[in-house]
Symmetry: C2
Subunit: 346 residues, 2 copies
């Protein structure tokens, strides 16, 4: 069977079919793994990368800085893998400050016994995701730990972005009257992971929504939308995000259930597993708080990127809770999830 150039692993797999403890020991094998696999894949990185730290030009702007560790299981899932997720997740955290993502670091914890070709596939996936986001992976680190389960690997990415606007994008900037938008349909990432993990055979295969969102955010800024707050809808889903923002801003959030975009197959899968789709994580979705005057323009910009973008609610000058108006018109409190239902989805 032939492989594409991408999947021709640069470490000789006859000799090293799996990761060994020595690949993390600081000697010849680690040196080879780093130079042949990581540096060759992340080849757009500057020459300084093989040094302890990388020197970068000053972006002459305020900086955004963030980190995220990825422990998702399984590591390959419909619509992505831990590598693309590790790039999208950190790029999106930078975008939530309205920053232009510039540089990423990549810290790997590899489990002894991880198949070398699986590692190469994940590294290629990170490279491709970084290219499509316009960011460079400029520094990294590799550790190897003893085999204990079938976990394989964990990836940490940290990211630096340039903040080229003068807004204060923060829960503290949310005001009564703000309109709340989401940039697409919710819950696909979490349900893609859960459907594989639970071995469920859904009629429609749900693919993760994992995707970078920096571009639509930068378009909003370019159109002079006065963004008050952005927040990506990851762990805990929309429910956790809205509760955190209600608490931080000390304002009430009112959302309208029937306006929240959730696909039929995601609804069905959630019902099967007894999950509330508003608690389910996304990886390419965010909530955007804007003043009412800018809401229509902001929505049209988001819908140009994804027609499923919607206005889902608004901020009210009342005690800080989240109210959900159901399809039949009754209001109920949308609580923060307790946090146990969906471990390791990112």
């Amino acid at each position: 069977m032939s492989h594409s150039a991408d999947f021709s692993c640069p470490i000789p797999i006859q000799q090293y079919p799996r990761v060994l403890m020595a690949h993390g020991g600081g000697g010849r094998l680690m040196h080879d793994l780093i130079s042949r696999m990581f540096l060759s894949a992340f080849s757009e990185t500057p020459a300084g990368t093989s040094h302890d730290s990388t020197v970068l030009p000053s972006p002459a702007a305020r900086l955004a800085f963030t980190t995220d560790t990825f422990v998702v299981r399984p590591v390959f899932f419909p619509g992505g893998d831990i590598g693309s997720l590790a790039v999208h997740g950190t790029v999106n955290d930078l975008a939530m400050s309205g920053a232009r993502p510039l540089w990423l670091s990549a810290g790997f914890i590899l489990e002894e016994g991880l198949p070398m070709e699986a590692l190469w596939k994940i590294v290629c996936s990170m490279r491709d995701a970084a290219r499509s986001c316009g960011v460079r992976i400029v520094t990294g680190d590799t550790k190897v730990m003893e085999q204990r389960g079938a976990d394989g690997l964990f990836i940490n990415t940290a990211g630096i972005g340039a903040v080229e606007h003068s807004l204060t994008i923060s829960p503290m900037s949310v005001r009564a009257g703000d309109v709340i938008l989401v940039n697409g349909d919710l819950g696909r990432h979490g349900m893609a992971i859960m459907s594989v993990r639970e071995g469920l055979d859904f009629q429609t295969k749900i693919e993760s929504d994992s995707a970078p969102v920096a571009e639509p955010v930068l378009k909003l800024l370019k159109a002079n939308i006065e963004i008050h707050c952005l927040r990506d809808l990851t762990r805990g889903g929309l429910a956790a995000v809205l509760n955190e923002i209600a608490e931080a801003s000390k304002l009430r959030i009112q959302v309208d259930e029937k306006s929240i975009p959730i696909r039929e197959d995601v609804h069905a899968a959630c019902e099967l597993l007894g999950l509330d789709p508003l608690h389910v994580a996304c990886e390419g979705r965010f909530a955007c708080f804007v003043p009412a005057k800018d809401a229509d323009l902001a929505l049209s910009i988001l819908q140009a990127d994804d027609p499923a973008a919607r206005k889902i609610g608004e901020v009210i000058s009342e005690s800080p809770i989240v109210l959900l108006k159901s399809a039949i018109g009754a209001n109920r409190i949308l609580d923060m999830p307790s946090g146990e239902q969906m471990p390791r989805i990112c």
Copy 2:
């Protein structure tokens, strides 16, 4: 028994004596862990920390950027713990570019069942190390994974520093005639870890050399020392570092064994375990390559910080190998370690 304020854990340990999966699930428990433990410990961080990414002022200088993941076992060892090590390691990687360390990120992978008080102790240790290095921990992430062993936790730190000099500090800048200095005695970190792990009862308790080295590096720069290369002596020890630099610079490195500072107890412990001290990791030691004209001044600056600092060798215009002149005067090739002997020392 009374506890100091530092060790009064802000999470109620009667209720939550150990980390639960729900502490990583995105709901109320995770929210409490982050706000009560991480944000309260890293309290010098700006208000933006609870957002997805933190916005920082532009340092108006070139930036150094680095990352390191810490998987050391045991997590508490003589002279430090995984928390202080995670701060020192990244601060030192920044220092190796001659950068002034400014900001760190902290990404935690916690194992379900980790005692909450152990986590708090490690978090306090990170806070204290960051304070003493003059850096701020400004952004973070927490994941929880299922219990599988007694591993407890992993910590990734990434760091940003300001490069306020105009040198190119890199293996590529090394020149024939350069003098090689080290800033203190070698091998204590690795042997502190190994002595605990092997259950050996050494006469002298060896404490880790884990310490920040940004200050002596900034003093060298302030004195206008023309630093060609800096490299911290972590995994693989002095032998790995010298081999990497010989290879990158395509120059021969000649070192003098009797000038390499190694304490008697470290020598003895290495002999007991059959280890070469030149392969053993340090966490507060670096090699410094400077032109001969600057060597005496550089050495006196390093010795003011640690009297054990030494000149250990020089760079020669010959084929790129590392030669070690033994105490009896014979030259032997000092090879790159194969990498298996000391896993998980950082």
